[in-house]
């Protein structure tokens, strides 16, 4: 991890779409969705550092991202791409992780600037997380200090190509190797670390559960975590006294 | 029925009052109630008899207009009955030192006699005598609670009362000076020639002011709030409920018989309106329940004056209805207020300590503001429909006054109801609230007002039945010619022939 070589650029091999051979209709459908995914990318630019300054030119008339179907979006729910544009301080990283976890898959992370690759000029900072890929799967790094808009655009085009070809599936990695990422996060933030999202539950729900989803770190997490089961609607009618008891009931 | 029984209704209580100290102690407490029961029975009998035709008694056999005449039409009989019943209900049963109690009982009996006398008297001189008798006894009763405040208030009352009597006397003198008689029937006969001029009107006005002191007429009623607030509740109830009505009755008789003039009516109307406005509005800000009731009764009597100002049987019917209704309601309210003196805030939560008392208060309040089907509504209906039927705009204005003041009345009465049913005072205010037995109702007061409430409800249920007798009473009373004809058969036929 401390050497440049050990930083994965593409973490996992692309998975073949299921049922790839048999059903023609399903194939067409998968192709269509893959195509649409690659041609419609909503990005959330988490402007942590100086790299953000290169995005406006990339978006506006000079380079016009929209012709590629790329638009800026505002909240993680709406976004497909998380752009991390610069150095990541420990405090910021917490937010980035939360934001990443709140995004809907398939989701892609792009690290812009050298700082996200290896800490860059903040290599020696005690308060900066050096390698973004330790904490979440990164699909694309656009190195440079700062990378010019041309580089940003070309990086995005490459991501599009990857998506189109089904090569960019790192979001699965986060579910499958959650224990790994969580471990790194815990190392940095301490063992009380948790987000209000339920990654393990999602992994189960969407069938992304892997052998490394759970492990010692998730066990630690479960010890600390206040359970965050969503409120299900419930009827619970009747009951003579419960209402009265609950009246002033404070948790 | 023998007309000589009429004398008994005056004589019996008077006699009993004077003989009371002589009666053995064991029986002494029974004398008064027994006498009043007898009077009540007589009143009932008289009412039955007089509904068809009024009764006349020439006392000592001297024919009117020379002798003393007692005239009992159905109204007078009813008031005799009312006097007896109300006095009985407000009878001072005890709870006091013995000699003081004797005095009170005697005074009450004298008051009953005077009131009965006022109702049945057929001439102005007797009216004046009984009026003075009633006045003096009421001074005595008002000061009976022997507190300093009561005595100050009574002193004020005495001064006003005496001045009023003086004015009334001057008025009577003027009338006598002009017409040479004081017999009402005779006066009624002579009035068109002798009294329907400014001087006659002035005499009427003076009498009106004089009697008005008792009838809580506006201008001369400033004694009422203090006296009612400081006197014992039953005395206040007697004065507000009974004595005032009898003074009113006399004024009404004068108006019908001697002064059926627009000017006289106008004076009554204007003073009635002012009384209503001043009473009800003053009550709006009252902070003490007895004062509030006092002002309310001023207002109600204003309404009665307005009613009697309406010409014809309609006015008399309305006036009688209001007067009788008030006669039932106001004493009951005063009885309830006996233990509720002081600041209104102290009543907070009274409904919990005395639920029956509070419920009765609410019932009387509803009737007082005229919520159908309680009798108060019919009284108000008669008054208003009488007023609306008059072409003169002043009557319409009076109607407006009645309507507006009723709203004010509802607000302050229900403010009290609200306080009683509201939350009990807490913390610092708690000291103000009388706790324990202090403002629960004594059984006798509750029983008394319970009887009044029963009367009220009975009247509400029987309203359709009461309409006919009331109408007949009103016709009887408003028919001046019949009065003259009954008392002075010869003259009436003469003037009838002359026409």
């Amino acid at each position: 991890m401390s050497t440049l070589q050990s930083i994965p650029v593409v973490a996992t091999k692309a998975e073949k779409p299921s049922g790839g051979t048999g059903n023609l209709l399903a194939n067409v459908f998968d192709e269509l969705t893959a195509f649409c995914r690659s041609r419609s990318l909503f990005m959330l630019h988490y402007c942590t550092g100086c790299g953000a300054i290169e995005l406006p030119p990339a978006m506006t008339s000079r380079f016009d991202m929209e012709r590629l179907g790329i638009q800026p979006m505002v909240t993680p729910r709406q976004a497909d791409i998380l752009l991390v544009t610069g150095y990541v301080s420990t405090k910021t990283l917490k937010r980035i992780i939360l934001t990443y976890e709140q995004m809907n898959s398939p989701k892609y992370v792009i690290g812009i600037c050298s700082c996200t690759v290896n800490g860059g000029m903040y290599w020696q900072s005690y308060a900066t997380a050096k390698v973004l890929a330790d904490y979440m799967p990164v699909d694309m790094y656009i190195a440079g200090c700062m990378p010019r808009p041309e580089a940003v655009i070309s990086g995005l085009r490459e991501l599009m190509a990857n998506i189109r070809a089904g090569r960019s599936d790192n979001w699965r990695d986060y579910y499958r190797r959650y224990d790994h990422y969580l471990g790194n996060q815990q190392r940095l933030f301490g063992e009380n670390w948790q987000t209000p999202t339920d990654v393990i539950g999602e992994a189960r729900h969407y069938g992304q559960f892997g052998p490394e989803t759970l492990g010692e770190h998730t066990a630690l997490l479960e010890r600390h975590q206040t359970p965050l089961l969503p409120f299900e609607m419930r009827l619970g009618l009747g009951g003579e006294k419960t209402g009265v008891e609950n009246k002033g009931d404070k948790r | 029925m023998n007309p000589s029984f009429i004398a008994l209704v005056v004589a019996l209580p008077l006699l009993a009052a004077f003989l009371l100290p002589l009666v053995p102690k064991v029986l002494r407490r029974l004398v008064g109630p027994l006498v009043l029961l007898v009077v009540a029975a007589l009143g009932m009998a008289l009412w039955q008899a007089s509904l068809s035709e009024p009764l006349v008694l020439a006392v000592g056999g001297f024919r009117p207009p020379l002798g003393i005449v007692f005239y009992v039409d159905s109204v007078a009989a009813l008031f005799v009955l009312a006097v007896a019943l109300v006095t009985l209900l407000l009878w001072p049963w005890g709870g006091d030192a013995s000699e003081n109690l004797d005095r009170k009982q005697s005074l009450t009996l004298v008051l009953a006699a005077a009131c009965a006398g006022l109702t049945v008297s057929g001439d102005l001189f007797n009216v004046y005598v009984f009026y003075e008798l009633a006045a003096v006894t009421s001074y005595g009763l008002a000061a009976g609670s022997r507190t300093a405040a009561a005595q100050v208030a009574t002193f004020r009352y005495v001064i006003l009362g005496s001045l009023g009597s003086l004015l009334a006397l001057i008025g009577i003198t003027l009338i006598y000076f002009r017409s040479g008689t004081l017999n009402l029937a005779h006066l009624a006969d002579l009035a068109p020639q002798t009294l329907h001029d400014p001087l006659g009107l002035a005499a009427f006005f003076l009498i009106l002011l004089g009697l008005g002191v008792k009838a809580e007429l506006f201008l001369v009623n400033t004694w009422a709030p203090e006296v009612y607030a400081t006197a014992e509740a039953r005395v206040s109830a007697l004065l507000a409920g009974l004595v005032s009505k009898l003074a009113l009755l006399v004024v009404a008789r004068l108006l019908v018989l001697v002064f059926p003039l627009p000017e006289a009516r106008e004076a009554l109307l204007v003073l009635g309106m002012l009384g209503m406005i001043s009473g009800e509005f003053a009550a709006y800000r009252a902070r003490d329940i007895k004062r509030m009731l006092a002002w309310s009764s001023i207002g109600q009597l204003g309404a009665a004056f307005i009613a009697f100002a309406i010409p014809g049987p309609a006015g008399v019917a309305a006036g009688l209805a209001i007067a009788l209704h008030h006669l039932v309601v106001k004493p009951a309210l005063f009885l309830l207020a006996e233990r509720w003196g002081g600041s209104l805030a102290r009543l907070a939560g009274a409904a919990r300590r005395s639920p029956l008392g509070a419920a009765l208060f609410a019932l009387f309040a509803l009737s007082l503001i005229g919520v159908p089907p309680l009798p108060g509504f019919w009284a108000k209906y008669l008054l208003l429909s009488g007023l609306a039927a008059q072409p003169d705009n002043l009557y319409l204005l009076a109607g407006l006054v009645v309507l507006v003041t009723t709203v004010v009345e509802a607000v302050y009465l229900f403010r009290v109801v609200g306080v009683m049913y509201g939350r009990e005072a807490k913390g610092e205010d708690a000291g103000l609230t009388n706790t324990g037995s202090a403002n629960t109702q004594p059984a006798s007061a509750l029983a008394g007002s319970g009887v009044f409430a029963a009367l009220l409800l009975a009247a509400a249920l029987a309203a359709p039945l009461l309409a006919a007798p009331l109408g007949r009473m009103a016709t009887q009373m408003s028919d001046g010619a019949a009065y003259v004809a009954r008392v002075l058969p010869s003259t009436a036929t003469l003037s009838g022939a002359a026409q």
Binding site: T75, L98, Q102, P196, D198, H205, Y206, T226, L228, P230, F231, E232, M233, R234, L235, G236, L237, G238, G243, N246, R251 | I159, L160, L163, P198, L201, A202, F204, L206, L209, V220, N221, T222, W223, A224, A267, S278, F281, A282, Y284, A286, W295, L366, V371, P372, F377, Y381, L384, A388, A389, G399, L403, T406, A410, V411, F414, R415, G418, Y421, G471
Partner: protein
């Protein structure tokens, strides 16, 4: 004993029963049976239902007779009472008693209200009418005053209004008697319109003011919201649903039957431009707008609904004043429609109060997962209140709009729509602040309201929905009421109305709407990927970590921008009038007290005597 006698005796019997054993568990069942019996009796009888007994008092005949117009209101009254009765018969009533209130008195007040209203609705002459009117007012007072100190205070504020109204009516009554010589309504309907303009105007003013107070028309509306909101739960529902409509009933009789709208239109303020009828229409329109936007400012769910109750009254009156078949049908239909969803809404709010202990819109939120049935009731209720399809509120409002369009009253039409839009805003705030958004930690263990509360609410909204889909069901009663009142009768179909100038067929509209929802659901659930529920704390907050102790439900000052613009326009509207009257009364009272406190009464007496003599002598 004929049908009306039976009806009234049943009602009186219930009042008696409530007094005797209203606090027991048996009573609600008995009352439920009796109310149902009354409903059946009422719906099944031939019209007009005349009472066998009558009185003669002070020369006036007093009698009772129920026609189609009265029966329409009576049905709604008893229906609302039935729902309220069931609601308070269960757990709600037990809690109410446990809190130290008297359930017996509450039941008695409800039964008393029903009896009083039935008497009012079936009055055959003005005396019976006034008796019913006053009984209704005071029975209403009794219902309002129960449930605590604040309720009592609010009810006391009602007293001067109620009495003022009653006295205005009484004044009108005696003047009517004096001018026409009769108080019989049938007789009056022939005679009253022949009175001169001046007399008619005075009568109109007196009666209309009296009736408006009950109905809460501007500017006499200030009492209503607190009085209705603070009453005990089912009482609020009953009051809100029907009580104020007695004013509308009376106005309907007065304007249409007795005076006739064309005569009212003769009373011109400015010849040909502004008549008394226009004034009424404008009062109704302003009553829609101002109270609705006052409701928008409320932070208590009960007050919010109560203010809407005032506003919705405006639609009803406006419809009746328009006087054509469509408008009056809309106005009348709105009485029924409004009663159904308003009662349901109020009951839902009180169900929330029952569980959480508060109706404060700033301390609730997220209850949809805990009280889904109550939420459903409120959702359907607010759709009705806002007047959107498919609920019945849409149909009645549509009829009123339609009438205003056809009659060519653009400004009045605009007012009604402004009212509707304001309602949409305010009801969204209601449901949002109560049921949506963050569920508070202290409410996590809340349970749904018990059956005794949910069943009446659900029944009411189902009724509101069914009569929204098939308004013809309710329009048959409305047509009967129109006929009884002498209005042109609406030609209706089961789904609405058929007209070349634009018809309304709710069956189709609702059908298509639900088909649309179906397709929408198909697209959503069928076409998309699987979804997973997330916890409310898993929420976008700019990267901030939310926790249960942080309150992030946006509820206070909900329409900040709007209020910034329009708030100053109506802040404290008409309260100045009330306080001016109160101050004037206070001033007058002080002056009068000063008179009675004067130091030298004897001098006054002498001066008065001299002045009086002078007046007598020289006048």
């Amino acid at each position: 004993m004929n049908a009306l006698d039976l009806l009234l005796s049943l009602s009186a019997l219930m009042l008696l029963a409530a007094f005797l054993f209203g606090q027991t568990r048996v009573y609600p069942w008995l009352a439920g049976i009796l109310f149902t019996g009354q409903l059946v009796l009422l719906a099944g009888s031939d019209l007009p239902m005349a009472a066998g007994v009558g009185l003669e008092i002070f020369g006036q005949q007093v009698g009772w007779q129920l026609d189609g117009f009265g029966r329409y209101f009576a049905l709604i009254t008893i229906g609302a009472a039935l729902a309220s009765n069931v609601y308070m018969g269960g757990e709600w009533g037990e809690r109410y008693q446990a809190d130290g209130h008297s359930l017996r008195w509450l039941h008695a007040a409800l039964a008393g209200n029903v009896l009083a209203m039935l008497l009012l609705l079936s009055s055959k002459d003005l005396i019976a009418f006034f008796i019913g009117w006053e009984l209704t007012s005071w029975a209403g007072f009794l219902l309002m005053a129960q449930g605590g100190e604040r309720a009592l205070r609010a009810a006391l504020r009602y007293v001067p209004y109620a009495m003022g109204g009653a006295m205005a009516v009484l004044g009108g009554l005696v003047l009517t008697l004096s001018w026409t010589g009769t108080l019989d309504l049938l007789e009056l309907s022939r005679v009253m319109s022949t009175l001169g303009n001046g007399q008619l105007a005075l009568l109109l003013a007196l009666f209309a003011i009296g009736f408006s107070i009950k109905m809460g028309l501007l500017p006499f509306h200030l009492w209503q919201a607190p009085a209705y909101a603070e009453a005990a739960g089912p009482g609020t529902a009953f009051l809100g649903a029907i009580s104020a409509r007695m004013g509308l009933f009376a106005l309907g009789i007065l304007l249409v039957k007795l005076m006739t709208l064309s005569r009212v239109a003769d009373l011109a303020f400015i010849d040909g431009l502004f008549t008394a009828r226009d004034l009424l229409a404008w009062v109704a329109a302003l009553t829609i707008v101002l109270p609705t936007f006052t409701a928008l400012k409320q932070n208590d769910a009960r007050y919010l609904l109560a203010w809407h109750g005032i506003g919705q009254g405006g639609y009803m009156l406006l419809g009746i004043v328009m006087g054509d078949a469509t408008g009056s049908a809309g106005g009348l239909l709105h009485v029924f429609n409004y009663a159904t969803y308003q009662a349901a809404l109020v009951l839902a709010v009180f169900a929330v109060m029952h569980r959480t202990g508060t109706a404060d819109l700033n301390s609730l939120g997220g209850l949809v997962t805990r009280m889904p049935l109550t939420f459903l009731v409120m959702l359907l209720g607010i759709i009705g209140l806002a007047g959107l399809p498919p609920m019945n509120g849409f149909v009645s409002k549509w009829l009123v709009y339609r009438s205003l369009m056809v009659e060519g009253r653009p400004l009045l039409f605009l007012m009604t729509v402004i009212g509707t839009l304001g309602t949409i805003l305010s009801v969204y705030k209601l449901i949002h602040n109560t049921f949506l958004g963050q569920l508070r930690a202290e409410h996590e263990h809340i349970r749904e309201a018990p059956w005794s509360m949910t069943v009446p609410m659900l029944a009411l909204v189902i009724l509101a929905f069914v009569t929204g889909v098939a308004p013809g069901l309710a329009l048959s009663w409305v047509a009967e009421a129109q006929a009884a009142l002498g209005l042109p009768v609406l030609a209706y179909t089961l789904g609405g109305i058929e007209s070349p100038r634009g018809s309304l067929d709710m069956l189709w509209i609702v059908g298509v709407l639900f088909a649309g929802f179906g397709i929408g659901a198909l697209l959503f659930y069928g076409a998309g990927g699987r979804s997973k529920r997330v916890h409310q704390l898993d929420n976008y907050a700019g990267g901030h970590f939310l926790s249960a102790d942080v309150r992030y439900h946006y509820s206070d000052h909900f329409y900040a921008g709007l209020m910034h613009r329009i708030g100053p326009l109506y802040r404290g509207s008409f309260t100045w009038l009330e306080s001016a009257v109160a101050s004037a009364t206070d001033l007058a009272a002080s002056l009068m007290q000063a008179w009675y406190r004067q130091a030298v009464p004897a001098l006054t007496l002498l001066v008065a005597a001299v002045l009086g003599l002078g007046w007598m002598v020289w006048r």
